[in-house]
């Protein structure tokens, strides 16, 4: 396949960026999107040019590192698929593809297509954990977890924190990510003691970062590679309002 790429190039956090055109004349349909970029980069390096910087790690759709806006869709045109698991067979010979970094005030560009997502880490640090006592291991199955709750918690826990939800949201809102993290602990017994405080602290941190606010467009849900449901956003809103109005959490 022969492709034309329009790629965002930016030398550093404070540098001016611009779109740059590249020809990719030798793309195989079996390649993943990132492997296609590897080939482009190899040629750039051979010609003594700077390779295109992009985030990646596991390349099997589980780590959340890859983060490309492909033709105006976070992680590209294939639903429930990270950019690293997107294969070139979903494109046609002769296609022109636009590749941009996540765009959000809370995710500043570091270089080219790589952004700083440490705002997500700070949200987790503010309450995305449970406190436990160390000591001898409790008996297995001592704490009962209803199957429906375990399943739902697992759906929320599938979030890999890639930031596609923020990237796709017209408001740059982080409600899908935060609600998944709030809910996967809030749904199980181990998460109950800190449930009110958790949602209040994590929402406060989310709001302290430069994210926008949800207007229920459902864009996030549509691009989430793990298909996290906006039902978790409703759940977080409910937990948050309840905690702020009815509990002592602050």
């Amino acid at each position: 396949m022969k492709l034309t790429l329009n790629v965002w190039r930016q030398a550093g956090p404070d540098a001016e960026g611009r779109m740059q055109r590249y020809e990719a004349p030798d793309v195989s349909p079996e390649m993943s999107f990132l492997e296609m970029l590897d080939v482009v980069n190899q040629r750039l390096e051979e010609n003594g040019e700077e390779p295109i910087v992009f985030d990646h790690d596991c390349r099997e759709g589980i780590c959340g590192a890859c983060s490309l806006m492909i033709d105006g869709v976070a992680h590209g045109p294939q639903a429930a698929t990270t950019a690293c698991q997107l294969h070139m067979r979903h494109f046609k010979d002769g296609d022109e593809i636009t590749i941009e970094p996540w765009r959000a005030a809370a995710f500043p560009v570091l270089k080219d297509l790589m952004v700083d997502r440490s705002a997500f880490d700070r949200i987790i640090q503010s309450g995305g954990y449970i406190s436990i006592n160390t000591g001898s291991a409790p008996d297995a199955n001592e704490v009962l977890v209803p199957k429906v709750d375990a399943d739902q918690a697992f759906e929320a826990a599938a979030c890999i924190g890639c930031g596609a939800c923020v990237a796709q949201c017209p408001n740059g809102a982080a409600q899908l990510f935060t609600s998944a993290k709030v809910s996967h602990l809030g749904l199980v017994p181990q998460g109950q003691p800190e449930r009110d405080q958790r949602v209040v602290s994590m929402v406060a941190q989310m709001e302290a970062e430069a994210f926008g606010s949800c207007t229920n467009h459902r864009e996030c849900e549509a691009v989430c590679p793990k298909e996290i449901s906006i039902d978790f956003i409703a759940r977080m809103n409910r937990d948050y309002l309840k905690a702020r109005i009815m509990s002592r959490a602050k």
């Binding site: 329009n6 965002w8 779109m19 806006m69 033709d71 105006g72 869709v73 636009t98 941009e100 765009r103 959000a104 005030a105 809370a106 796709q168 017209p170 408001n171 740059g172 809102a173 929402v203 406060a204 709001e207 430069a210 994210f211 926008g212 606010s213 949800c214 207007t215 229920n216 467009h217 459902r218 864009e219 849900e221 549509a222 691009v223 906006i230 039902d231 956003i233 409703a234 759940r235 977080m236 809103n237 409910r238 937990d239 948050y240 309002l241 702020r244 109005i245």
Partner: protein, 226 residues
């Protein structure tokens, strides 16, 4: 009371305020629309209905008193609704300082993307509408107490009828998204309940719009007239 103002700082709380005031305003437009349909029963009925509104609250409250309380409440709801809309819009613009060269919406609807513009159209319409059919000073032949006459003389003009139809249609779009969205904002969600939320929004957006549109349309087409 301080805790309420502290809570309001949170965008989630602002959105809840928007949803609650939206519910109040929806309750108003629904009953307003239903009342308007009395025009199909002739001049006596609609004029008696308008007069009857002033007797609401009797015998506990006096003539027109409850109506004024409701008006103040509605004004406060519109004010809070717009305040939170404006504050959240500002926040959301700041959150995406650089826009994409290419963006392909995946799920957002026409209605969800035009909430702000629809809201502004509704705002201008409300001001014009009050001056036109409540106060009467932008009406060509306004007679206090004769609602039927005021409606018929106004909507025989296609421009005025057209503007009313346009405005309530944009209200319909606003409600199509809003009546679904408010459940999310308030956290009213559940596996059995969620299909109902969409049906509720479609049904009531359609009922309100069709009900409102029917009056100028009936007068313009000569179905209702002197």
């Amino acid at each position: 009371m301080k805790w309420i103002f502290e809570l309001y700082r949170s965008p989630i709380a602002k959105k809840a305020v928007m949803a609650l005031t939206g519910v109040i305003l929806f309750g108003f437009v629904l009953s307003h629309m239903a009342g308007n349909l009395k025009v199909f029963q002739g001049p006596e009925k609609i004029n008696a209905y308008a007069e009857g509104l002033r007797e609401l609250g009797k015998p506990i409250l006096g003539h027109g008193e409850l109506l004024w309380i409701l008006r103040v409440g509605l004004l406060a709801a519109v004010g809070l609704h717009m305040l939170s809309a404006w504050q959240l819009t500002k926040l959301n613009r700041k959150a995406r300082p650089i826009s994409y060269a290419k963006r392909t919406p995946q799920a957002a609807t026409y209605a969800s993307r035009t909430m702000r513009y629809g809201g502004v159209i509704i705002l201008f319409f409300i001001v014009y509408h009050l001056l036109h059919l409540t106060v009467g000073n932008v009406h060509v032949d306004f007679k206090h107490g004769d609602v039927y006459h005021n409606l018929v003389t106004a909507f025989q003009n296609p421009l005025i009828a057209g503007f009313y139809i346009l405005a309530v249609t944009s209200l319909g779009f606003h409600l199509y998204h809003g009546l679904w969205s408010l459940f999310q904002s308030l956290g009213w969600s559940g596996p059995r309940f969620n299909a109902f939320r969409r049906q509720f929004a479609i049904a009531f957006a359609a009922i309100v719009t069709v009900g409102f549109v029917s009056v100028p349309l009936a007068i313009l087409s000569g179905f209702i007239g002197h």
